[in-house]
């Protein structure tokens, strides 16, 4: 039976189903995950606030505002009040989001790229390359990462670049393992054998055949790691070994807030709730993506 007549038969007698592309099916499954939808809206809003920070923040995040007002409560001019240096808390929060989200997105990008490279080389080439790369991955995973992150940050001089570097350094292993495993199973598939038989180069096989087929778990892992990076960045900044004042990050705003915890406990609330909301949203989106991208999932 030829393909055209099969389609005709299907049209005449078969159950009528809408034709849907792969993307439409993923979108349909994602939309059904309510928490992921809410998470996407929150995350996109936070990103928009970060991008348009200069338009949204009513004051400078670092300049002392006048009339001088230390630890003042909320007012029409300062929506969330001022901190101990008379700086506008709302503006600091908005700019802090910019810093925290930039760090997290950069670390996610770099970490994923490194993980993909290590995992695909190990998975594709096998043998000694695989043994060395995966052994390094295992050792890195067994290391107590926070103590080492702290000391590296201290030694390299804390700051924006350092924090992106150290987060990348300790964040690529999950993706590497994932890609490695995925490549091992894809290497045995017939389309890979066909590509090899046709004389495709290693680079072509890795980037055109194997990697696109491993994309779904990589995207999920990257999304889920985003929240982790935000938390670690906030922790480092809170401990004074991340983003340095006067620049604000959600983490280092909490350092100042902790000193005033008995006088003005509300100060500890705002930056923390911002971190919590973003991380929770990212984790929900990751969970939604996992369900949506899994082809075995419900239609």
């Amino acid at each position: 039976m030829s393909a055209t007549s099969a389609t005709a038969l299907q049209a005449e007698f078969g159950p009528t189903t809408e034709r849907r592309s792969q993307k439409q099916m993923i979108w349909r499954r994602f939309r059904r995950h309510k928490a992921a939808m809410v998470g996407s809206v929150i995350l996109l809003t936070m990103i928009a606030i970060a991008v348009f920070a200069p338009l949204i923040a009513p004051h400078s995040p670092t300049r002392i505002s006048f009339p001088f007002c230390r630890d003042c409560g909320p007012s029409a001019d300062h929506w969330l009040g001022t901190d101990s240096l008379s700086r506008d808390i709302f503006s600091r929060l908005v700019y802090a989001g910019r810093v925290s989200l930039s760090v997290a997105f950069l670390a996610t990008t770099f970490g994923t790229v490194v993980g993909v490279l290590v995992g695909s080389f190990a998975g594709y080439f096998g043998g000694r390359v695989e043994m060395v790369l995966m052994r390094i991955t295992d050792v890195m995973l067994a290391l107590p990462s926070l103590p080492l992150l702290l000391i590296l940050s201290k030694v390299l001089g804390p700051g924006f670049n350092t924090i992106v570097l150290v987060l990348t350094l300790f964040g690529w292993m999950g993706v590497a393992r994932l890609v490695h495993g995925s490549f091992l199973s894809l290497k045995g598939e017939q389309f890979t054998e066909a590509a090899v038989a046709l004389g495709a180069s290693s680079r072509r096989i890795i980037f055109i055949h194997l990697l696109p087929n491993s994309l779904a778990p990589i995207i999920v892992a990257a999304t889920l790691s985003l929240g982790g990076y935000i938390i670690v960045e906030a922790t480092l900044s809170f401990l004074g070994l991340g983003i340095q004042p006067p620049a604000s990050s959600w983490g280092n705003m909490l350092t100042g807030a902790q000193a005033k915890i008995f006088q003005n406990p509300l100060l500890t609330f705002y930056p923390g709730i911002a971190i919590f909301l973003v991380v929770l949203s990212a984790n929900f989106v990751g969970d939604g993506l996992r369900d949506a991208l899994d082809p075995r999932g419900k239609e």
Partner: protein, 322 residues
């Protein structure tokens, strides 16, 4: 089994060596070197090229770095861990660490027990009552638990229980003069342990749930049910025993995270343990102390991994063969 343990022991020793070398070279090859903090410690009048040179000779820093690593390792093995530079000037590092170790272990062991009990309980209930209200609540809880920054959760606890309700102390291990009062000590322990446990309870409960759900689909469970065993017996005798095997590995992997958590928790609650000591050593550039603490951490982490692996090999014979 013996061969397996010996092999794993050898690998563990190697891992400790790798970590110690890593830490040593990070500290010694960094721009400015280990003395970069010196100019803040001594007065400007005293700080000169000559004085830096004198300090270098005094501390043996004028020799090549690879040689120094072996000297350092030899000293560590002999129990000479050097003296603290700034945190507790002149005091031997090993003694200083040992004086803080019990506090950290108290915190970690309490947190591990609490996480284990709660994690198992929540995980088992939500697996047995899948898609029930309890299960949904547990899911929400675990998402919150992994999304909340540990230090902020700690700060919120202080705001709530120390500032607002004034029922729990904000820091320390005991009130002054009440060091021997068990009740007072437990009061001080509640918040740090809760903070340290949260992320593990969130993670482990999900893991136990997934593992148990997976086992409950196996054929041997249908067999157990078919031969007429009661529901609770099927769960406790057949399902749980198999579902909990992977949890052992998980616990081994969580120990490094616990050490990270201890730094944050002890710093927030002014808990005089190794984590806070480590933080202080970093802030005041006390490198011998930082190095010693990282060494202890590495040994404890590797040891716990080893114990988890051996435990796994004992309960699951399949591991030993591969």
């Amino acid at each position: 089994m013996q061969a397996y343990i010996i092999r794993r022991l050898f690998q563990s020793a190697l891992l400790v060596l790798i970590i110690s070398a890593l830490v040593f070279f990070i500290l010694n090859l960094a721009p400015g070197g280990p003395l970069s903090g010196l100019k803040f410690q001594i007065s400007a009048r005293e700080y000169s090229e000559a004085s830096v040179q004198r300090y270098k000779e005094l501390l043996g820093l004028d020799k090549p770095v690879y040689l120094r690593y072996f000297y350092w390792l030899g000293d560590m093995v002999r129990g000479d861990w050097g003296d603290s530079w700034t945190v507790s000037t002149g005091r031997p590092v090993l003694g200083l660490i040992m004086s803080r170790l019990p506090n950290t272990l108290t915190l970690m062991i309490s947190a591990t027990i609490l996480s284990l009990v709660l994690g198992l309980l929540i995980g088992i209930v939500s697996a047995i009552k899948q898609y029930s209200i309890i299960d949904t609540a547990a899911t929400v809880f675990s998402f919150v638990g992994i999304s909340i920054p540990t230090f902020w959760f700690g700060l919120m606890m202080i705001v709530l229980f120390s500032v607002h309700f004034r029922i729990l102390p904000a820091g320390g291990t005991a009130d002054f003069g009440m060091e021997n009062d068990i009740g007072n000590r437990i009061k001080h322990l509640i918040m740090p342990v809760a903070v340290l446990s949260l992320i593990n309870v969130a993670g482990w409960s999900r893991y136990v749930r997934a593992s148990l759900l997976n086992v409950m689909q196996q054929d041997y469970l249908r067999t157990a049910r078919a031969k007429g065993l009661s529901g609770s017996k099927v769960i406790t005798r057949h399902a749980l025993r198999n579902a909990l095997i992977p949890v052992i590995t998980l616990m081994g992997l969580e120990i490094p995270i616990l050490f990270g958590g201890a730094i944050v928790t002890e710093t927030i609650f002014s808990w005089p343990g190794m984590g806070r000591l480590y933080f202080q050593s970093l802030v005041s550039s006390d490198y011998p102390l930082a190095q010693g603490l990282l060494f202890v951490t590495a040994v404890l982490v590797v040891l716990s991994n080893l114990l988890a692996d051996i435990g796994y090999a004992i309960v699951d014979p399949r591991v030993r063969l591969s």
